[in-house]
Symmetry: C2
Subunit: 140 residues, 2 copies
């Protein structure tokens, strides 16, 4: 399986506004996608970067207590690195390949925060890293 570039690092944050301010002040990061809700994933999400074309930071805060970010923050109250996301040209081919490797895929393929199909692979099958696979957005 050949994955493409690291698209972003998912970062859990306890307070979205404070996190955006932190990344602006400490890293000079630019807010490339303002916060929006993804209710089906239980998260408020935004994207920031420090350089155009570089891997982004995807900030994630929980919408409610059932969010996967809620349990992460219970273990890591300050927040921290939550997942890594790699691009692929064809999401279904990637899913078939990970399944053939016997890796556990978490739920159905669905539309992710960049508007293209994504799925997650279990950290226990990926060296402890929750791994998101996303189809590369077209025309970019």
């Amino acid at each position: 399986m050949k994955l493409g570039r690291l698209n972003h690092v998912g970062i859990a944050v306890p307070d979205m506004d404070a996190a955006i301010a932190h990344w602006r002040e400490s890293a000079g990061a630019t807010l490339t996608t303002p916060p929006f809700e993804m209710p089906e994933q239980g998260v408020l999400v935004c994207f920031m970067d420090t350089a155009e074309g570089a891997a982004q930071m995807e900030l994630l805060s929980p919408l409610d207590k059932t969010s996967p970010i809620t349990s992460f923050l219970a273990r890591n109250p300050l927040g921290g690195q939550h997942h890594m996301c790699f691009e692929v040209p064809d999401i279904e081919a990637a899913r078939t390949n990970f399944e053939a490797q016997g890796k556990r895929i978490l739920g159905p393929t669905r539309i992710g925060a960049h508007g293209t199909p994504i799925f997650f692979v279990h950290p226990k099958d990926m060296g402890g890293i929750l791994t998101e696979i996303m189809e590369t957005p077209g025309d970019v």
Copy 2:
């Protein structure tokens, strides 16, 4: 403070050879810098990437029980995301700036795995993320 691009994500691994094989097989990653020891940091380190010019994976395994990676692996036996590293054009200007922000810097500025000066900022001052700042290598 304006940081540059995300250079790499540091990833703690319990077994370097197994981790390189995992990243080759699961992600089609290329070993761009074969493993070498950094005794002063207590780590065996290599770099891999999935796309030229993209952020890299820096795999880190402990050289001994005093390594910072040893304690990380005690908490995370499978390994996982350990730090994020951003480039800056001038390491001393960056250090002065982080100090002026009141952020705790961990130890002296030293030569990092890419051969340029680096320092680490405390995760408690960086939203739970151990943050490495590295001077961009010249002529690349």
